[in-house]
């Protein structure tokens, strides 16, 4: 049984670790420090932590001011508010100036659960992906969250790192984490399953079940949405009968769109998109919501069977 971890816990601990070795690390939050776990850093380094209350726009523009004076700034809140509420500040003041601001947002996606639609960011990747200098990482589990944070801290420029709310299983044998480099978790020539975040473990589960039916899948963890590992995508696009892209995000503008853009131009193949289909979220338990929005391993399996049977 895989270890279950909160990505947020790892984030908070990693911040403390960074804070010890780098005095220029500064952490900001907007009244959600207990949920995002930046509170761990606040406790350890109160003089380098600033809470801005419920004011995300101010937080993001202040982050830019701090970065202009040489600080490496981590700014956290829920994904909805980090990317939606403060988009102009992120676009014009953080990203246009190419500042060292790392936006680490928790509570992304449908698995926020009972809080419902207003708190379920389903379009945050899309909002961040259109900004030229922004790099985007969606870690697939707890340990990869640490990799993402460490990488962002040591890489110049703005980052958006997307974390979820619930505990999620740790994925073994992913190999080394490298920014912009996809991780191939299983290899097979029948179908490619490309996933990010919590959908990676569902993809692996689906591939195991498919194997029992004689279908071999390549499963790719595409933790870095920008810059996207186009080479890895095109390689499997050429090898397999079709691709399934899985994301806990709208299918418009996120990972699926990123892959469509690359494949359509270079190596047209069938791409099936498993994500939120032009709908808002709603209240419910995470597992029920994943079913309701067709984001389970069974949904991935079904899509794979469709591809394989149509391309015999």
């Amino acid at each position: 049984m895989a270890e279950m971890l909160y990505q947020r816990d790892i984030y908070g601990k990693t911040l403390v670790e960074l804070g010890k070795s780098n005095k220029d690390i500064v952490v900001l939050d907007a009244d959600l420090s207990s949920s995002t776990r930046t509170g761990l850093f606040a406790k350890e380094f109160p003089e380098r932590f600033f809470n801005f209350g419920v004011a995300e726009q101010n937080m993001m523009a202040t982050a830019a001011g701090l970065a202009s004076c040489g600080k490496t700034v981590f700014a956290s809140t829920f994904a909805m508010f980090a990317t939606g509420r403060a988009w102009d500040q992120v676009r014009n003041t953080v990203c246009y100036n190419n500042f060292n601001v790392k936006i680490v947002a928790s509570h992304a996606g449908i698995t926020v659960g009972p809080d419902g639609s207003s708190h379920q960011a389903l379009e945050d990747i899309a909002l961040m992906r259109v900004i030229p200098t922004m790099k985007i990482i969606v870690p697939c589990d707890g340990p990869q969250t640490r990799d993402a944070i460490m990488t962002a801290a040591s890489t110049l420029g703005p980052f958006y790192i997307r974390l979820g709310r619930p505990k999620i299983p740790t994925i073994d044998n992913k190999g080394e984490f490298k920014l912009g480099k996809a991780q191939v978790l299983t290899k097979g020539n029948d179908v490619a399953i490309i996933a990010c975040g919590i959908m990676v473990s569902a993809a692996l589960e689906a591939s195991e079940n498919l194997l029992k039916q004689g279908i071999r899948a390549t499963v790719i963890n595409i933790h870095t949405i920008r810059p996207l590992d186009a080479q890895a995508i095109l390689e499997v696009a050429g090898l397999t009968k079709g691709m399934i892209v899985c994301e806990e995000h709208t299918v418009i503008g996120g990972l699926a769109s990123s892959i469509d853009e690359i494949v359509a131009q270079n190596c047209p193949t069938q791409v099936m998109r498993l994500g939120i289909k032009n709908r808002f979220g709603q209240s419910g338990e995470p597992a029920d919501l994943l079913k309701e929005y067709n984001l389970t391993s069974q949904d991935i399996e079904k899509a794979a069977l469709t591809i394989v049977s149509s391309r015999k």
Partner: protein, 273 residues
Amino acid sequence: MQFTDTQIKDLEAKAKQIRRLIIQMLAKAGSGHPGGSLSATDLITALYFAILRHDPKKPDWSQRDRFHMSKGHCCPLWYAVLAESGYFPIENLWSLRQLGSLLQGHADRRAIGVDVGSGSLGQGLSVALGMSLAARMDKKDYRVYVLLGDGEIQEGNIWEAAMAVSHYKCDNLCAILDYNGFQIDGKTKDIMNLEPLIAKWQAFGWHTIEIDGHNMKQILSAYEQAITIKGKSSIIIAHTIKGKGVSFMENVLDFHGRAPTKEEAERALKELE
């Protein structure tokens, strides 16, 4: 510090020179924002040539005082002051708003001396807050100045920042409000009234200093007073005239965002001789 009459006269002459550069840049560019550049000219000239601790030869000097222009559309003023200070050659000013120019249409880091670009209104007070907190963490004694437009403070982000600056007791931060009373669509009092303005800032916990923004003596003493205020931030609320210095531009709404024609520029420069 007491400023002598000669120093005051020199600053007034410098402000006139800055106004001339603004007119020439905008006429050459064919577009841009003269009104708010001219209304804040005396305030920013005094700041750069008498108050600010800076060294144009070392734009990255870590101990420099920071200045940020939140109302980025008035960058012709900022660029003129930077060039006149020696950050870059005066000739660069004639490339304003042209393709590939270091001098973009709104304040931009491509210009040497600009630490943070601006243009989308309402964010500069937050930027200044970040600079102020960085100084505190690094135990540096530099001060942070930020120029706000009056129409601009209709943005909600300004009041988020006003609350936070006060909460963090940033006494190394001084805001300057260019209260010329106009915004694109008309008079601020008709479009979205800002009054009672002093009471608002005081209610947010700020020390307010109200001055005539074209009186060099008052401007200098306001900056000096702000330095002495401890435990809270200061805002200089400067009553100004939009288009100040050019008779046919003063309080004329049209010149918020329209460059003078060649003929208008000639007339303006004659007035500024």
